[in-house]
């Protein structure tokens, strides 16, 4: 149970920072934290049905759910794509405005358009 509570706390911390933090870099980090909390939720849940690694051929041992591990591998790859593209956008915006503050970026963007 404690694992799920800790994951819940991780999720809330990430979501809070994503919504309320003004730095775009920290927002991207927060997005990573929230994403990780959901990935961990899948992994922990998948490990609850067994304790042996998947497909190692151990006799008599119940292996963890291999399906969730395969799914989360994909989710992590997607997460990396999103993080890298958002960082590329932030670098572009930094080059233009020299700030990571979302409100300043918004305001200067409006002024330029």
């Amino acid at each position: 149970m404690i694992r799920y509570i800790l994951l819940g706390i991780l999720f809330i911390i990430g979501m809070y920072a994503l919504i309320f933090h003004r730095s775009v870099i920290k927002k991207v980090i927060a997005l990573g934290i929230v994403n990780t909390s959901v990935v961990l939720l899948f992994i922990i849940s998948g490990s609850s049905i067994g304790d042996a690694p998947a497909f190692t051929g151990e006799q008599g041992a119940r292996m963890v759910d291999p399906m969730v591990q395969a799914l989360m591998l994909t989710a992590i790859v997607i997460g990396v794509c999103i993080t890298s593209f958002s960082l590329a956008l932030i670098v572009h915006l930094w080059g233009r405005f020299e700030t990571f503050d979302i409100d300043t970026i918004e305001k200067r963007g409006d002024d330029e358009s």
């Binding site: 979501m15 994503l18 919504i19 309320f20 775009v24 927002k27 991207v28 997005l31 929230v34 994403n35 959901v38 939720l41 899948f42 849940s45 399906m67 969730v68 799914l71 994909t74 989710a75 997607i78 794509c81 999103i82 593209f85 958002s86 956008l89 932030i90 572009h92 915006l93 233009r96 405005f97 979302i102 409100d103 970026i105 918004e106 963007g109 409006d110 330029e112 358009s113």
Partner: protein
């Protein structure tokens, strides 16, 4: 020919083409070779995909929907794909819109190879989203579709487009985390991600908070991509600041795909009718609020972007009502057909509007609807071929305002007449009035006399003749053959011989159209009033920040969940 062996070719062809296009990018220093690979891969990608789409479409039309598995023959772990007729028709439209937008961009010569690479990957993701019947596969397809959209939006040289792309990325990614959370709950509850098995496990089970939260998380994440009120805040800037062909693809086709993907998902739950009710109401509100914001805009592309939200409101209202009544009923089928019809027609006229208005903005160097004057004269003096731009604009503007004999008239009336004697009918009538007023305001750029020196700022832009000819032809054909299209859709999608009575020229519908035009014209004239213009300016300056966008996602998930639970308890 075995259908299984050809079914995936139309999906894989664009993906393969994108691989070859990457090759064209790597040999960019050999200009001629690079361009040969570029044209060969793009055109063959489109043509192969088109050929096999038509082939599969005709076979599915004869046999009904067909399902295949990828990865394994054992259906419990394999990824299931179902090729249904509605999805194939939408994919055909997506191919058409993507091709016209590609032709437009190719003529303008802006980042041609890069644009084509992303476009081809996006086409693949559109197909995957439409046909997959596996929850996690849907997540991956939606994410690919999202990533390609963020990249396409950021292609524009305007810094505002990068900001819009980042906002869309962050809010959409936050929504997709709820999607993943919903997927977790569904997997935990049913032990499967396959729609068929989920349905079998959930059938007849009592409504639990976990099921409701899973459904609402996934539905909200999908509806965010379709820009349904109150999840639409990312759209106006993203669509308005992108390059013109990108706006045409995003508004024309991309925002509709998630809604079609939602159809089989919603039907997994016993409480699908309650979900339909919420989406119907939100769709009507979306149509209404967005059109007011559209009417108040001074930026031409932002005005069009708000209209996309409004028109999506019509589509989702009809779709939601169809789910509420259930697709097993005749009325539900007609409503679902009406929403598909408006998806197709809106895809055509909104893409045409974005492309033609984009050309007008480029030639006149003016985005402001009030400052853009004498556009017709400026366009013709720039190039006589711009007559096509003017025809394309007016054909699509008359279609969106639902003027009789243009395609929007048929799809909109099919939707609104289904809501007769309901409050939504009045809401959609008012929306129609505001749409007329908005497009009178936009059309005024052609007639408003302007100073002669305006002609000195003319930019010589190449006229994308192929795109315009194709779009004008499609708009004309769909308007002329509306009746066989509707009956064909109805009988093919549901494999039933419906005895639908199509009468679009009854005195009541005529009177409604005439009244809409008259009140719309009065509303347009009222812009001159100082109070109205002040109010419009105040509405225009309302901006929603990223924080509110993210909060709206969380509130929507909780709100929908609570509503479904309460309604479930009441119904018990």
């Amino acid at each position: 020919m075995n259908l299984e062996s050809i079914a995936f070719i139309f999906l894989m062809a664009p993906l393969l083409a994108s691989g070859f296009l990457l090759l064209a990018k790597t040999v960019h220093h050999h200009e001629r070779l690079s361009f040969v690979i570029y044209y060969l891969s793009t055109i063959s990608g489109f043509l192969i995909s088109l050929f096999f789409t038509i082939l599969v479409l005709t076979k599915v039309n004869q046999r009904g929907p067909v399902s295949f598995y990828i990865g394994a023959h054992h259906s419990e772990v394999a990824i299931s794909y179902t090729f249904s007729l509605d999805g194939l028709i939408i994919f055909f439209v997506a191919l058409f819109i993507s091709f016209t937008s590609w032709a437009y961009n190719d003529r303008k010569k802006t980042k041609q190879i890069e644009f084509s690479i992303i476009l081809m990957i996006q086409l693949f993701s559109i197909g995957a989203t439409l046909f997959t019947r596996d929850l996690f596969n849907l997540f991956v397809a939606l994410e690919i579709m999202g990533i390609t959209s963020y990249v396409l939006i950021a292609f524009s040289s305007k810094v505002r487009s990068s900001v819009a792309s980042l906002y869309y990325l962050l809010s959409s990614s936050a929504a997709m985390i709820f999607f993943l959370l919903g997927t977790y709950l569904i997997y935990r509850l049913t032990g499967s991600l396959n729609y068929h098995q989920i349905r079998e496990t959930l059938k007849g089970t009592a409504m639990s908070p976990a099921t409701v939260f899973a459904a609402s998380s996934i539905i909200v994440a999908i509806l965010m991509r379709s820009a349904l009120f109150p999840l639409h805040f990312w759209l106006p800037n993203a669509h308005a600041m992108a390059m013109h062909p990108v706006s045409a693809i995003l508004s024309g086709i991309l925002i509709k795909i998630p809604l079609i993907a939602l159809t089989p998902f919603v039907q997994l739950f016993d409480f699908s009718q309650s979900i339909g009710t919420v989406i119907k109401i939100l769709g009507a509100l979306s149509a209404f609020f967005a059109v007011i914001f559209a009417f108040c805009q001074s930026d031409i592309k932002k005005l069009l972007a708000y209209h996309s939200i409004s028109q999506m409101g019509y589509i989702t209202a009809a779709w939601g009502y169809a789910m509420e009544l259930s697709l097993a009923t005749e009325a539900g089928r007609i409503l679902y057909t009406a929403s598909i019809l408006h998806i197709i027609f809106h895809a055509l006229f909104k893409s045409t509007l974005f492309l033609s208005c984009g050309t007008i903005i480029d030639v006149t160097a003016q985005r402001n609807v009030y400052k853009n004057r004498n556009a017709a004269r400026i366009l013709i003096s720039a190039d006589r071929k711009h007559l096509l731009t003017i025809i394309a604009f007016f054909l699509s503007a008359l279609s969106i305002t639902a003027i009789p004999f243009f395609n929007g008239y048929y799809s909109k009336n099919l939707i609104t007449s289904s809501f007769h004697h309901q409050w939504i009918y009045t809401i959609l009538f008012i929306t129609g009035v505001f749409t007329t007023a908005s497009f009178l305001k936009l059309s005024a750029i052609f007639f408003r006399p302007g100073p002669v020196e305006n002609t000195q700022t003319i930019r010589k832009e190449k006229v994308p003749v192929l795109s315009y000819v194709l779009l004008i032809a499609a708009l004309t054909v769909t308007a002329v053959y509306h009746s066989p299209i509707i009956t064909g859709l109805l009988s093919s999608v549901f494999s039933s011989q419906s005895d639908i009575h199509l009468e679009f020229y009854e005195s009541e519908i005529w009177m409604k159209s005439v009244t809409t035009i008259i009140i719309g014209t009065i509303l347009y004239i009222s812009i001159r009033s100082r109070t109205i213009s002040h109010l419009m300016h105040l509405t225009e300056t309302v901006e929603v920040n990223l924080q509110s966008m993210l909060i709206s996602v969380i509130l929507s998930v909780t709100g929908l969940g609570i509503y479904l639970l309460v309604r479930g308890v009441i119904l018990i």
